[in-house]
Amino acid sequence: MARSTTTRRKIITTAAAWAVGLLIFFPIYWTILTSFKTEAQAINDPPLFFFFDWTLENYAVVQERSDYMRFLWNSVIISGLSTLLGVMIAVPAAWSMAFVPSRRTKDILLWMLSTKMLPAVGVLYPISLLFVKFGLLDTRTGLVVVLMLINLPIIVWMLYTYFKEIPGEILEAARMDGATLREEIVYILTPMAIPGIASTMLLNFILAWNEAFWTLNLTAAKAAPLTAFIASYSSPEGLFFAKLSAASTMAIAPILILGWFSQKQLVRGLTFGAVK
């Protein structure tokens, strides 16, 4: 009797969870699907949900007009390097906050987060002028630095929450054994924190990938990432749903695939030490 109720309950839960999951995913499904339609099919009434002549035409058109690989490569480089650089700067900071806390640690942490509240448009001119002055416009270097700085507070905070979960006694013991600070970090802390660092990097890679204000305003042709690629397909003249869908799919596919493969890591990355 009890067993049948749990089975029934499981069936209901399954139905509900799948319904919600599909509903949330639907816009993405629809975008991918539309990218395989012709422009006329894309606005067909009633909408075509699966049965139509699939075509790759939109991808061909998009690829012919813009060199997708170049945008993709810029996105990968900029997101990757800014994340790497950010983690290199954040690890020592988070370490000291977690293991040598002072009265001001929490204030510093919150202050770091508050630097993210400066609205980007408000400082568009100052930053643009600085970029012009230092010749950083349309360079990957410039973008790597800016995106690193934008995400640094989040990186520090996430790493801090992981490090705090590592029991201090282990470090104490190592110190007793005469381990230097460097050895302590390299041999003890880092191996324990690797999952945390990995998920932090993953989350920041996503945030950098999706950043669309600075990447658009500080680039032209050479350093332009996928956000600029998208800006050339939004609302052109005439029917454009299918081509927009193809461009959108191309812009989100790499990160979507990466996210799916590393789902478990990311789930951990998103906890922010919320689990207690």
Partner: protein, 435 residues
């Protein structure tokens, strides 16, 4: 004349150029309109002729404006050529931000540019941007629906006729709206449309002392007329419709009439994209009965060289290529005469091949009848028809058009919107030191 011959000719040309100038790579910012995308596709021809290569930065219109404006005001120097319009050109030219195009080659034949375009893209008599294509606005209507309604479109109709015809053509049960017009917020979208409509009711943006004129009866009359007509015969949700949305509605056969840019004519008559390609007629933009001015605007997308670029020569070569007579021939040979960039050159409208295109004459007539120095009946202190060529206009008109769009969406009354428009315009003009 074979392909091989042409190739040989092109190669020898390249050799001649290549000997005199070194090959450069120029960066061009442009808008993602159909004609520009076509130009992008033909870049190869430019490269074979000159040896220079091109990096394209193709952006959606709003993003492009934001991008190039920031670049020019901060002297970013990211682009060797920028695609700008008739609004920006005189302002930027005046500030010395653009390279004067006063030494174009003799073959380019600068005198062949339509005078209206040339004037609109000059400051103080100097040309600062070369028109890639130019446009006015006109009525595009469905001949079949007009016939069905038992009406005949005059060559130069009035707003009153348009309203009556729109009501007669409307068939909501079959998803046909008598008229589709821009209501979308933004100075270049609904803002431009309501401004020209107001012009044709005798209204103006500013009096000679730069006082806002939204408290005048002409504005109220124009806005009430527009809202009344659109609620009778316009599509649902027209408050968010701009050029693209209306184009798509018209192509799907959901509009009886559409008053918009003359360049749209080639899209609505293109059987590949339009389901009503063979049923489209054209007429001059309307005026209100008894008002001398018609509601047609004047605009050009043009190519300009920002001052400070190191590659002025290569950039000039590109501009000469892209806005030349040869480029028009090139597009005509590849895509047919209906698809060449219109509205820039007199010679195009003297070409018998082009004049066979159904909308050619009406486009020219519309462009010729637009006068940026006298946009409306009363005198104005500004130049420009659907805009006033002062730096503050884009900001003010965007906010004003947002107030108007709220009227179209039924969120406030005409009087409320006009009062707000009046206040915010005077406020902004005061901030800028005009009043």
């Amino acid at each position: 004349m074979s392909f091989a011959n042409a190739l040989r000719a092109a190669t020898s040309l390249a050799l001649v150029f290549g000997a005199t100038a070194q090959a450069e790579t120029i960066t061009i910012a442009t808008v993602n309109n159909g004609d520009m995308i076509r130009m992008q596709g033909l870049t190869e021809d430019f490269t074979t002729k000159t040896g220079h290569t091109v990096e394209w930065v193709t952006l959606e219109e709003n993003v492009l404006r934001q991008r190039v404006t920031t670049d020019i005001t901060t002297k970013g120097g990211q682009f060797d050529i920028m695609t700008i319009g008739m609004y920006e050109t005189p302002i930027w030219g005046k500030n010395g931000w653009l390279v004067p195009l006063d030494d174009l080659s003799a073959e380019y034949d600068v005198d062949d540019l339509l005078p209206a375009m040339r004037n609109g893209l000059s400051y103080d008599g100097t040309l600062f941007a070369a028109p890639f294509y130019g446009e006015s606005s006109m009525i595009m209507y469905r001949t079949d629906l007009m016939e069905k309604a038992g009406l005949e479109m005059p060559e130069a109709p009035t707003w009153q006729f348009i309203r009556q015809a729109a009501a007669a053509m409307t068939d909501r049960a079959n998803d046909i709206n008598g008229i589709c017009l821009r209501g979308k917020a933004g100075w270049g979208e609904g803002g431009a449309f309501i401004t020209v409509t107001a012009n044709s009711f005798g209204a103006r943006w500013f009096d000679e002392e730069w006082n806002a004129q939204f408290d005048q009866p002409e504005w109220k009359e124009a806005l009430e007329f527009f809202v009344g007509m659109m609620s009778e015969s316009g599509p649902a949700g027209y408050a968010t419709n701009g050029f693209n949305e209306n184009l798509s509605l018209f192509q799907q056969g959901k509009c009886g009439m559409w008053i918009d840019a003359t360049v749209a004519a080639s899209f609505v008559t293109n059987p590949n994209d339009s389901s009503v390609a063979d049923k489209v007629g054209f007429a001059l933009a309307p005026n209100s009965e008894g008002v001398e001015k018609r509601s047609n605007w004047l605009w050009a997308w043009a190519l300009a060289i920002p001052a400070g670029t190191q590659k002025t020569d290569a950039a000039k070569q590109f501009i000469e290529w892209a806005t030349s007579k040869d480029y028009i021939e090139l597009v005509a040979a590849k895509e047919g005469w209906a698809n060449v960039p219109p509205g820039a050159r007199t010679s195009l409208y003297e070409n018998p091949n082009y004049m066979e295109v159904p909308f050619a004459k009406m486009t020219l007539d519309s462009i010729l009848s637009a006068d940026p120095n006298n946009p409306t009946v009363k005198p104005v202190p500004y130049v420009g028809i659907q805009f006033a060529a002062i730096p503050e206009f884009a900001g003010i008109a965007t906010e004003v058009s947002q107030e108007f769009s709220a009227v179209y969406a039924g969120q406030q009354s005409v009087d409320e919107a006009l009062a707000k428009a009046q206040a915010l315009t005077n406020d902004a003009m005061e901030a800028a030191g005009y009043r």
